[in-house]
C-alpha cells in the first residue's frame, strides 16, 4: 500500500511536469521565437487565411496545378489525415491508379501510352501532401498555360523558380509546393505575364 | 588405461538395448525426456489417423509411412539411452562380480572368526583378511600391513602396500590380499558402495540431471513449445491462403523442427560421460562434480607424487677449486655408502656411474666407522684412518670444518649458492678440513608433467603447487615444471585456507588428496578427488574417487567434464541448424501444388511433395542412430583456447549442421524415388 501511494505520487508529479509544464513551456517559447511556424505556417491572401504552406489543397480548376491524389474521404480534408493503405497487389487499387493515369493523360493531352509521373497518380501517406515532383508539375504546364492563356515557357519558368532542392544536396527530393506555385500563378496572371517580377516566391 | 571396454557393437549389448528401447516407450519412463515424450504423443496421434483412414477411407499409405518413422525417431532415441546405460552397467558389473562372489571372515566379539558371504556384511563389521583372501567390501585397515593386488579394479598389475595408520588405509571390495594379515572395518552397507553409487549414475531412471543438462533441457522444451505454436498456427494461415494441411503433415513438420536430435541423445551423452570416467578408473559420486570439473579454473597439486617423482636425486658433482672431480666423486661415494635414504642411494648410484664402477661392489675397509644422519648433526659420513669424510647441509658442514680449524673455500660457497638458487639441494662434501665440492641434489619431474601442465594453462586452469619445501626450491621446481604458482612451506591446514581464498574470488577449485588431514580441504574444494588408497576420511569428503590413486588423473577428469558439455552444445547447435533444410523441404512440399511459384524454395529439387516430407522425417530419424557413436565417444577434444575451440565447433556443427541435411535429405529423396516408396 505504501508503494502504491508512492506510485500514485510519482505519477502525479511526473504528469504535471511532462503533461502540463513541458507542453506549456514549449508552446510559450515556440509562440515567442517561431510564432509563424507554431501557428501552422499559415498563408494569408488579402488578410484572409488561404491555407497552410505545409498542407496541400484540392485543385480541380485546369488553370491551377493539381496536387497528388488524396486518399481521404474528402480529399485534402486537413481535419483528418491518412493514406489509402492499399497493398501493391490490390486489384481495386491498381484499377484506380489506371483510371487516374487515364485521366491525367486526357486532361494534359498526353499520348495513350505516355509515361505518367508516379506521384501524380499515387496517393500520399498523409492525404495532405503539399508537394508534387518537378516532372508532375512540368507535365501540367501546357494545360495550365492554355487555361490561363499564358505562354508555356513562362509557366515552366515559374515552376523552375519554385523548385525546392534537397538541403545540402542530399536531404530531400526536388519538389514543388503546389499551393505556393498556384498563388504565384494567380500573381503572374494578375501582372499580365511579367513573370520575372513576381514577388511571390519560395520565401516567406 | 582402457581395459575391458564393452564395444557398442557387442551383440548381447545390442540385443538388450533394443529391448530396452521398446520398454522405454512407457510414457511414465519417457516423461523424463520431454522432447521425446512429445514425439511419442504425436506418433500415437498420426498412427490413430492412419488406422482410421484405413477403416474409413483416406490417404493411408503416406500417413502410415510418416507414423512409422515417427515411432522410429522415438525408438532410436531410446536405443541411444539404453545402449549408453547398458555399457555403463556392464562396466560396473565386471567390477561388482568380483565383489559379490566373495566371502568374508567376520571377526566375532570373542576374537573368533566366522565365514559369511560378503554381501551380508554390514557397515562397521570387522573382518580379517589374510594371504590370498579377497577383500570383501570397501573399508579401512585398522591393523596390520598387506600387499594388495588391485588389478581387478584398477587394471594395474603391480601390487600395492596398504597399511593401518597413515595415508594408505583404504581398501576396495573386489581386490585381493597377496600377503599379510589385516583387520578391516567395513565402511559401507551392500548397495551403498562406491560401485553401487556409480551404477545408479548410469541408470537413466535414477540418474540426477546435472545443472547444465537442466538448463539445456529448458532451452529444448522452450524450442519445442515454440515450434508447436509455429506449426499449429500454420494450419489457419494455410486455410487463409486456401491450403488445407493434413494433421500428419503438420506433425511431420513439427517433429522435424523440434530438437529431436539433441533431445534424443541428451541422456546418452550424460551417461556415456560417466562411462568414460569409469574407463579412466574414476568413480564420480555426483554428476554435478563431473560437470564442475569442466569449469575448474584452479587446481591444487601436491608437489610430491604429482609433479615430482617424490625424492630428490643426485644429478651432478661440483668440485671445489683445485680438486679433481674423481676425488670428489669417490669421497661422496664413501660418505653415502651407509646412507640408506633414497637420496643417499641416488648419490651412490650416480657416483658409481661416474666412476664407471657399476655393478662392482665397493666395500669400505672393515675398521671404518659410519656416521649416520641425525637431525642434530644434519650430515652423515664415514671415518677411518683418521680421515673424516662428511657430506651434509652447507651450514652444518661449515661448522664441522671450522671446529677443526679449516675454512670453506670461496668456490664451494659459490657452488652452494648456485645450486640453491636453481632450486636444488646442495650437499657439501669434506675430507676433514678440506672441502672437496658439492653434490647437486634435485627434484626430478615426473615424465610428461610439463606437457600436462601446459595443457592446463591452455584450458585456462591456474595450477598451484603445494610443497613443504622452502620458497627457493619451490620456485625453481615450479619454474621447471611450468606451474603457475606455488605455496611453499605449506602445512596441511593451509590448503583449506587457500581453497577458500580462491573460491572467494569466484574460482572453482579442484584438488586431489589422500591423507586424513586433507579431508577438510577436500570437502571445501568444488572438485575433490580422493585416492582409492587414501584414508576413509578423505574418501568420504571427496566427490570422486580415483581407483588408480594417480594424482594426474585430475586432468583426465577435467577433460571428460568439458567433453560432456561440448558434446551437448555441439549437438544442440547441429540440431537447430538442421531445421533450416527441413523447412526448405517441407514448406514447398505443402504449398507448391497450390502456388507453383513457391517452387523456388524447393532448392533441393525434391521429386514430389510426399517424397520431400518423407525424406525430411526419415533424415530426422536416422540422424539419431548415426550420431550415437559420436555421443557415446564425445566429440573430439583437444586442449586449445576457447576461441579456437568455439570456431572449430561452430564450423563443424553449426555450418556443417546447416549444410549436411540438404545433402542427406536429397539423397534420401533419390532413394525413395528409386525404391518407388512415394
Amino acid at each position: 500500500m505504501k508503494e502504491f501511494i508512492r506510485a500514485l505520487l510519482v505519477f502525479v508529479v511526473l504528469s504535471i511536469l511532462t503533461g502540463l509544464a513541458y507542453p506549456f513551456l514549449i508552446t510559450r517559447v515556440a509562440q515567442l521565437i517561431f510564432p509563424r511556424q507554431a501557428k501552422g505556417s499559415l498563408l494569408t491572401v488579402n488578410g484572409k487565411i488561404s491555407g497552410s504552406a505545409l498542407i496541400g489543397q484540392k485543385f480541380t480548376n485546369p488553370g491551377y496545378f493539381h496536387g497528388r491524389p488524396s486518399a481521404l474521404e474528402k480529399a485534402y480534408d486537413a481535419s483528418n489525415s491518412g493514406g489509402s493503405n492499399f497493398g501493391p497487389s490490390n486489384s481495386k487499387f491498381l484499377e484506380e491508379v489506371g483510371q487516374r493515369m487515364e485521366k491525367v493523360r486526357v486532361t494534359n493531352g498526353l499520348g495513350v501510352n505516355a509515361p505518367v509521373p508516379a506521384d501524380l497518380v499515387l496517393a500520399s501517406g498523409s492525404g495532405l501532401d503539399p508537394h508534387i515532383s518537378v516532372d508532375a508539375a512540368m507535365v501540367q504546364a501546357p494545360r495550365v498555360a492554355k487555361a490561363r492563356g499564358l505562354r508555356e515557357s513562362d509557366i515552366r519558368d515559374l515552376v523552375q523558380k519554385h523548385i525546392e532542392g534537397p538541403l545540402f544536396g542530399f536531404l530531400g527530393q526536388e519538389r514543388v509546393n503546389v499551393l505556393r506555385l498556384n498563388l504565384a500563378l494567380d500573381d503572374l496572371s494578375r501582372h499580365g505575364g511579367q513573370s520575372g517580377e513576381s514577388k511571390q516566391g519560395t520565401g516567406g | 588405461m582402457e581395459k575391458t571396454t564393452p564395444k557398442f557393437w557387442q551383440s548381447k549389448l545390442i540385443k538388450t538395448s533394443i529391448k530396452g528401447s521398446f520398454l522405454r516407450l512407457d510414457p511414465r519412463l519417457l516423461w523424463h525426456n520431454p522432447v521425446m515424450f512429445v514425439v511419442e504423443i504425436v506418433s500415437v496421434i498420426t498412427s490413430l489417423i492412419s488406422v482410421s483412414n484405413l477403416i474409413y477411407g483416406g490417404p493411408f499409405l503416406f500417413n502410415i509411412h510418416i507414423s512409422i518413422w515417427l515411432w522410429f525417431t522415438v525408438l532410436f532415441a531410446n536405443f541411444a539411452e539404453a545402449l549408453a546405460e547398458g555399457r555403463g552397467k556392464a562396466q560396473a558389473e565386471t567390477l561388482r562380480r568380483a565383489q559379490s562372489e566373495a566371502y568374508a571372515k567376520r571377526l566375532l566379539a570373542n576374537g573368533q572368526t566366522e565365514t559369511i558371504p560378503a554381501l551380508s556384511l554390514r557397515k562397521n563389521d570387522m573382518v580379517v583378511v589374510e594371504d590370498n583372501d579377497p577383500i570383501p567390501g570397501d573399508g579401512e585397515i585398522v591393523e596390520g600391513v598387506a600387499l594388495v593386488d588391485e588389478s581387478a579394479v584398477t587394471g594395474e598389475s603391480a601390487p600395492v602396500i596398504r597399511e593401518a595408520k597413515g595415508d594408505r588405509t583404504g581398501v576396495t571390495g573386489g581386490t585381493r590380499v597377496l600377503s599379510g594379515r589385516i583387520k578391516v572395518t567395513i565402511t559401507a552397507n551392500p548397495g551403498e558402495t562406491f560401485l553401487d553409487h556409480m551404477i545408479s549414475m548410469v541408470e537413466s531412471a535414477t540418474r540426477q540431471k546435472t545443472p547444465n543438462e537442466r538448463a539445456l533441457e529448458i532451452l529444448l522444451v522452450g524450442l519445442t513449445v515454440l515450434f508447436i505454436v509455429v506449426v499449429g498456427t500454420l494450419a489457419p494461415f494455410g486455410v487463409y491462403t486456401g491450403v488445407k494441411i493434413t494433421l500428419p503433415v503438420l506433425v511431420a513438420l513439427l517433429v522435424c523442427l523440434m530438437p529431436t536430435t539433441i533431445g534424443g541423445l541428451l541422456p546418452a551423452i550424460g551417461i556415456a560421460g560417466m562411462d568414460r570416467l569409469i574407463q579412466h578408473n574414476v568413480i564420480a559420486l555426483s554428476g554435478r562434480a563431473v560437470e564442475a570439473a569442466g569449469d575448474v579454473n584452479v587446481v591444487l597439486l601436491d608437489k610430491t607424487g604429482t609433479i615430482t617423482l617424490g625424492n630428490r636425486m643426485a644429478t651432478d658433482f661440483i668440485p671445489a677449486a683445485g680438486i679433481k672431480n674423481e676425488e670428489l666423486v669417490e669421497a661422496a661415494l664413501f660418505a653415502s655408502l651407509a646412507d640408506e635414504t633414497p637420496e643417499g642411494r641416488s648419490i651412490v648410484a650416480l657416483a658409481k656411474y661416474r666412476l664407471d664402477r657399476r655393478g662392482r661392489d665397493i666395500k669400505p675397509s672393515p675398521e671404518a666407522k659410519f656416521i649416520p644422519f641425525t637431525a642434530e648433526l644434519r650430515m652423515s659420513g664415514i671415518s677411518w684412518n683418521g680421515r673424516e669424510i662428511r657430506k651434509g647441509a652447507a651450514d652444518a658442514v661449515a661448522k664441522f670444518v671450522q671446529e677443526r680449524g679449516g675454512v670453506i673455500p670461496e668456490s664451494v660457497t659459490a657452488a652452494v649458492d648456485r645450486v640453491a638458487r636453481e632450486g636444488g639441494t646442495p650437499l657439501v662434501v669434506v675430507d676433514s678440513t678440506r672441502a672437496l665440492g658439492v653434490i647437486y641434489l634435485k627434484d626430478v619431474l615426473k615424465e610428461g608433467i610439463k606437457e600436462r601442465l601446459s595443457q592446463l594453462r591452455l584450458l585456462g586452469i591456474h595450477s598451484i603447487m603445494i610443497t613443504g619445501d622452502n620458497p627457493l626450491t619451490a620456485a625453481a621446481i615450479a619454474a621447471e615444471a611450468g606451474i603457475d604458482d606455488f605455496v611453499a612451506q605449506a602445512r596441511p591446514e593451509e590448503k583449506l585456507k587457500l581453497i577458500r581464498k580462491y573460491q572467494a574470488e569466484g574460482n572453482l577449485v579442484a584438488m586431489i588428496g589422500d591423507g586424513t588431514n586433507d579431508a577438510p580441504a577436500l570437502a571445501q574444494a568444488d572438485v575433490a578427488v580422493a585416492m582409492n588408497a587414501g584414508t576413509q576420511a578423505s574418501r568420504e569428503a571427496a566427490n570422486m574417487v580415483d581407483l588408480d590413486s594417480n594424482p594426474t588423473k585430475l586432468l583426465d577428469i577435467v577433460e571428460i567434464g568439458k567433453q560432456i558439455l561440448m558434446t551437448r552444445g555441439a549437438l544442440t547447435t547441429f540440431s537447430v541448424a538442421n531445421d533450416v533444410a527441413k523447412y526448405f523441404a517441407i514448406i514447398p512440399a505443402i504449398f507448391v501444388p497450390f502456388f507453383p511459384m513457391l517452387g523456388i524454395l524447393n532448392v533441393m529439387r525434391l521429386s514430389t511433395p510426399n517424397s520431400a516430407i518423407l525424406s525430411a522425417i526419415i533424415f530426422n530419424a536416422i540422424i539419431i542412430p548415426l550420431l550415437i557413436p559420436l555421443s557415446l565417444r564425445g566429440i573430439t577434444y583437444r586442449p586449445m583456447t576457447a576461441m579456437a575451440l568455439l570456431w572449430r565447433n561452430l564450423v563443424i556443427y553449426g555450418i556443417g549442421g546447416l549444410i549436411l541435411p540438404f545433402i542427406g535429405i536429397k539423397l534420401i529423396d533419390l532413394l525413395i524415388v528409386f525404391l518407388h516408396l512415394a
Binding site: T18, S79, G82, V97, P115 | V230, G506, V576, L598
Partner: protein
Amino acid sequence: MAKDITYILVFLGVLMLLALPLGHYMAQVFTGRRTFMSFIIRPFESGLYRLCRVNENEEMSWKQYSLAFLLFNAVGFMVLFLLQIVQGRLPLNPMGFGSVRWDTALNTAISFVTNTNWQAYGGETTMSYLTQMVGLTVQNFVSAAVGMAVALPLIRAFTSKLRNTIGNFWVDMTRSVLYVLLPLSIILAMLLVSQGVVQTFAPSVKAQTIEGTEQVIAVGPVASQVAIKELGSNGGGFFNANSSHPFENPTPFSNFLEMLAILLIPAALPFTFGIMVKNRRQGWAIFAAMMILFLVGLGAAFWAEWQGNPILAQSGLGSSTNMEGKEVRFGIGPSVLWGQVTTVTSNGSVNAMHDSMMPLTGLVFMFNMAIGEVIFGGVGVGLIGMLMYAILAIFLAGLMIGRTPEFLGKKLEAREMIMAVIAVIAPAMASLIFAGIAVAIPTGLSSLNNPGPHGLSEILYAFFSAAGNNGSAFAGLNANTVFYNLATGFVMLVGRSATILPALAIAGSLAMKKSVPSSSATFPTASPLFTVLLIGVVLIVGALTFFPALILGPFLEHLLIFAGRTF
C-alpha cells in the same frame, strides 16, 4: 541511389557522433555521478523525491523492483483509461470530442503504458488536447523512462557481487525522465517548431482555399508530443497520418532530425552498458551486432522498394517508383530508411504508409518487429531483449567450449535460461497465436483492407507490432474493433511484461552470484566472434519461428505480383 547512400552515411555518422557522448552521459546519470546538467536538474530531482516520499538510497530486491514497476504501470493505465472515458467533461477540448469507446480506450491505455503506442484511433478526430497531453504525452515520457529504468538492474547485476538488491525503481525512472528524456525533448521540440511543426492550443484553423472552398486544418500542441514520441521509441502520432503529416514532419530536415531522435537513445545504450559493466568492448560488440543487423535489413528493404511495383510499371507509370503512401518531400529512400529505423526500434511512428510498401520491404519490417525489437530496439527494453538473445548465444557457446556458460563473469544457469527463453519465445508465441485466431474467425477477417496474401500480412504485421511493442501498422487493417482492441491489447501486455519481468528476475539472480575471473578458457564475449554468434542466433531463431508465416504473407505476395497476379 548515390544520394541515398550519402544520406545513410551522413545519418549514421551523425548518429555515432551523438550516441557516443550520450552513452557516456547516461552512464554518469545512472551511476548517480554529477553531470554537467546536475546543477539545474539535481534540485528538481531531490524535490521530487521529498514530495513523493522516495528514499533515494533505498535498494530494492528484484521482486520489490518488479512490484514498483507493476504498480506504477497500473496507476498509469487507470488514469489514462479514465481520462479517455471522461474527456468530454474536461477542459482543453476545443473540438468538443466525446468519450472514447471503452474497448478503444482500453487498447489505447495498454498501448501507451506499454510503450507500444499502437493507435486504433485517429488522433485529431478522437482525442482532446488534454488527453493528448496529460494522457498520451505523459505516457510517452514515463513508459520510455520505465523502459530505460528496467534495463539498469540487469546492467548493474553484472558488476555487483553477492547482493540481493538491484537498485531503486523510482530513482532509475525519475533520472531517466529528468536527465535524459526531458532535456532532449525540449531541444528537439524547439528544432521541430523551427521547421514548421505546430505548437498551439488554438482550435482548428478554418481556411478559405484559393479555389474558394473551406479547409479545416487541425492543429494543436504537436511539437512537444512529437519530440518525445520519437525520443522515447513511442510513435503515437498527434495526427492519424503520424509523421507523414506535414505538421508532424514538415521538411526533409525535420525528417532527418526525427529519425536521429528515434535511434539516438537506443544506439547510445549499448555504450552506456559497456561503460557501466566496465567493459567498453562489450558495449561495442553488442552495438556492432545491432548495427550489422540494421544494415542488412536496410539493404534488403531498399532493394525491395526500389524495384517498385512491376504491375504499375507495365501500365506506363513514369518511373517504377512506388510512391503510394509516401510523401514527395521525403521520397523513396528516406521513407524506407524511416521504416527500417522505426521497426527496429519499436517506434511506431511512420512517415509513409507501410501497408502500401512492396511486400518484401514489409517482410523486413515485420521481421524486425517479430524477433522482439532487439536491433537497437525500444529505449532500454531493446537492450534487454538483445541481452536475452546474448544469453542464449552464450549458453550455446559456453557448452561448445566445455564450460558452464558465463557472461561477463556471471554463470548462466537454469534460472537464467528459463527467463531468457520466456523472454524470447513468449512474445513470438503470443503474436503467432493471435494472428492464427484472427485469420480463422470472420471478425478478424472483416477488418482487412486488402485481400490475398497482403491481407495475411496486415494481420501478421498488427500482432508482430503489438508483441514487439512497436505500434506501427499495416494501417489498412481496421484495428478499432472489439476483437482487435482486446487481442492486440493482450499481446502488447505479453510483449512488454515477458521482456521486462524475466529481465528483472535475471538481474536478481545474477546480482547474487559471484563473479568468475576470465581466462583463456572463457569465451571472450567482447569479441567479433561473439558479435557474429549473436547475429546468427537472432537470425536463426527469428527465421525458424517466422519462416512459414512470412512465406505465406509477404513472400508469396511478392512472387505473385511478379507473376502478374492481383487480388
